[in-house]
Structures are given as C-alpha cells and as structure tokens.
Amino acid sequence: MSFWERLLKIDRKIIFIVMAVLVLFPLLKPLGLGVNSGPRAKAVFDAVDAIPPGKTLLISVDFDPASMPELYPMLVALMRHAFARDVKVLLCGLWITGAGLADKAVTEIPPEYGKEYGKDVVYLGWKAGVDAVILGMGENIKNVFPVDYYGHPLDSLPMMQEVVRLRDIPFMVAISAGTPGFSDWLLYGQSRYGLRVGAGVTAVSAADAYPFLQSGQLTGLLAGMKGAAEYEVLVAKNGYSKAYMPAVAAMDSQSLAHLVILFLVVLGNVAFFATRMKRR
C-alpha cells in the first residue's frame, strides 16, 4: 500500500483528535484574531438602536439547545443592547425546546441593568400553532397569551398595557435555528401587520435568508456564531456592555476548525488524485 493510499485510509479517530485539540486550544489560549462587524449585523444593530426608549423590542426564541452556542449569544447581546438604551424587551418562542433558554436569559440579563420583570421585560412562552400564534398576536397578544410563561395574567403586567398587538412593536428579531422561524414571522407578521423583522440564524441556514435581505423584507441578519460575535462587538464598541463576549471568544476555535476541515479536504483530494494517477 502506497503512502497516498495509506493516507486515504487514515483512522478517523486521528481526525477527531486533531479537531478536538485545535478547537480546545484557542478556548484555553485565545489567538485574538479579532472580529470585524459586517453590514448585515450593523443593520440589525442600527434597527435596535433606532427604537425609542420606552418602546418594545420583540425577540422570538426559535431554537433549541443544539443551536445554543451560535444563537444564545445573539439573544443575550440583543437584550443587553435594548436594556442599555431603556428599550423594553418582549420575548416569545415558536419552539417548545427554546422555552427554557429564553427563561435563562430573562432570569440572568435584566438584573445586570437593574430592569424589572413585568415592567421592562416580559416572556410570553410558547404556544402551539405557529401561523395562528403570529396572526393572533397581530390582532391581540392577550388573546393568544392570556398569561405569561410564569403564569402572570398579562393584564397585571405594566409593560403589556402599551403593547397590545404586533403593530405596537417597532422592530423584532427572530432568532431561528430552522422552521418555524424568521420566515414565518415574515409570512404572517410582516406581510399582514407590517412588522419590521431582523433575523439571527445558524451559519448553515444563513444562505436561506439572503433572498429576503435583498428584497428588503429582512432588515438585517446575524449569521451564525460570527453574526453573534459581530453583534457583541458592536454592543461593546458603543459602550452598551462590558460583559464577557462568548461568541467573540469562540471565533478563534471556529477559525481553526474551518482551517482543519479545509486542510483535510485539500489533503484528501491530493491523496485521491495521486492514487488515481498511480493506478493509471
């Protein structure tokens, strides 16, 4: 067996070990590659920045723990940005497995800015029937969610006196790991009620969002962990938060992971063609 043939049959455990080492190393010792914010993330940032203090940002938590490393930092950075500007935050979700993640953010982030539940932030929870939920919220949020995630009647929450329907919300960000997600908010929330929508998506589904960006239906896009890191940088640069930036910290790892995969693809192709030439 030639060198190239042996290379093609390399034990996958070796690949796994190389990958694990290169992902872990930058987490322990950051490379400091830095993150530059692109126009898509800046568009989301500007839209949140343009919400007048006292008004409400809606965030739909449409992801599960599988996508948490990519999408949860977006949720946290968006909430920090809003609270730093005295913008109220209303959360809901189209994924039942995202309910606990939104609860975690609602428990941890508002106290950093001295914000109170019910006055500055409300979490509606999850309800079955994606399109009907969005359409119902367009008419009257209380009809769909008579009580919030914690069982408080919406009438008892001061923030919900001013937010009756989707038209009362100047901007929303749908943080989606798939379907249901931002496309449902565009389809029902925007087309029917004129809701301005920005999206945060996993890197693999970012390509699906591009047609809606160019058409202007999506105001901006946070794509994958890089999008989350870009937003964290924007929030920090503008003095809204000095907190630890998990997505920025993970970008070095992701850089090395991408390099490993690309190196392996090149190596695999070289070995493949070298073996084929030798056989001829």
């Binding site: 948490m68 079955a128 009809n143 850089s255 995969i261 693809v265 192709n269």
Partner: protein
C-alpha cells in the same frame, strides 16, 4: 357524506379566508380572530396524534424485534417518564421537568449531539468531498472561499476574502435560492387551490 362534508368545509373556508384578507369590516376581522383561535385548538390536537403515532410505531418495532428495538424502549420510557413528571409536578420554572429533564438532560444531550457534528463533518469532508467533476470542483472552490470568508482567519489571510464570500452568498447563492423559493411558492399555491377545489384529496385519508 364522510368525504363530501370535509370537502365542502374545505371549499367554503378556503374561499371565505381568501376573501376575508381583503375585507377590513369588523365582522370580517371578528371572524378571522375566531378562526385563528380554532386553528390554535386544532393544532393542540395534532400533538395528541403525534404522541399516539410515536407510541404505535415504537410498540410495533418492539413486537417485531426490528433492528435497534432497544432504542424504542428508551424512547417509550423517556416519553412516559417526562409526561408523568410534567403531569404530576407541572411545567413551570423550577419544576423537575425544567430543572432535571430540560436543564440537566435535554440541554447537554442536545448540545453534545450537535457538537460532535464538527468531528463527523471533518471526517466526511476528508473522505467524500472530491473534485471528481467540474461541477464538484466549482462547489469545492465556493465552499472553500465561503468557509474561510466567514471566520476571522479568512480576513487575516486576505482582507478581501470576506467580501468575495459575501458576493458568493449575495449573488449566485441568492439567485439559486430565489428560484427555489419561487418554485416552492408556486407549488404551494397550486396545491392549495387543488385542495380547496377538491381535486387533491390525499388529506382525506385512504378510506372510503
């Protein structure tokens, strides 16, 4: 009667809801509000159907001792245990369902499953991603640029790389995606019309 009644309801509701969209009269809005409530209630019943279907499928696998039948036991036990915990102690924050099942089981399991994808992707890319044809080579080059352009190391290698990656996503990718979106939308309109007019009857089931 068993087929004609659902067909008639579908035809009437389909046409009424289409017309309703363009009529802002309070009666029309009220009717729309009522139907969205019905939809939410019907959606909740889909959950019951889903659970029933899951149980029947896995019981069948167990009875026939199909490959991997042990995993069916895991699924059924997990379903029963989760349901019992939820029904007995509730689903509110702080309940065992949230603290034990969600935070300490679902979150780490789900995150681990997704995390190991990176390892399998690396291995699969090494073994399968070959530039055997011109099209495959083109795909490989595009993937190469986008993968590098989407991480900070890409900009460190060549400052223009993120712009090139952005162009690939914004122009050729978007053109293809838009064609797919149009195709799907036209297909959905055609199928919806066929369902409303009773031409497509697959949703009624196979019985007489």
């Amino acid at each position: 009667m068993r087929r004609s009644l659902p067909l008639a309801i579908c035809l009437i509701m389909g046409i009424v809801m289409m017309v309703q969209f363009f009529v802002p009269h309070p009666i029309s809005v009220g009717f729309y509000d009522l139907t969205t409530k019905w939809i939410r209630i019907v959606s909740a019943f889909a959950l019951v159907l889903g659970v029933g279907s899951l149980i029947l499928y896995h019981l069948d696998r167990l009875q026939r001792r199909r490959a991997g039948w042990v995993y069916s036991i895991v699924t059924l036990v997990a379903l029963v245990v989760t349901a019992v915990i939820g029904l007995v102690w509730g689903v509110k924050p702080g309940s065992p369902l949230q603290e034990v099942i969600f935070k300490n089981m679902l979150v780490p399991l789900n995150a681990s499953m997704f995390a190991i994808l990176a390892f399998y992707m690396a291995s699969a890319a090494y073994r399968a991603f070959r530039a055997r044809t011109k099209e495959a080579a083109l795909l490989l080059i595009a993937a190469f640029i986008v993968m590098l352009g989407m991480v900070p190391v890409g900009a460190a290698i060549w400052g223009k790389l993120p712009e090139v990656a952005e162009w690939i996503l914004s122009v050729p990718n978007m053109a293809a995606k838009r064609a797919i979106v149009f195709g799907v939308a036209l297909g959905a309109i055609a199928t919806s019309l066929k369902v409303i007019l009773g031409i497509e009857r697959g949703w009624l089931g196979g019985g007489k």
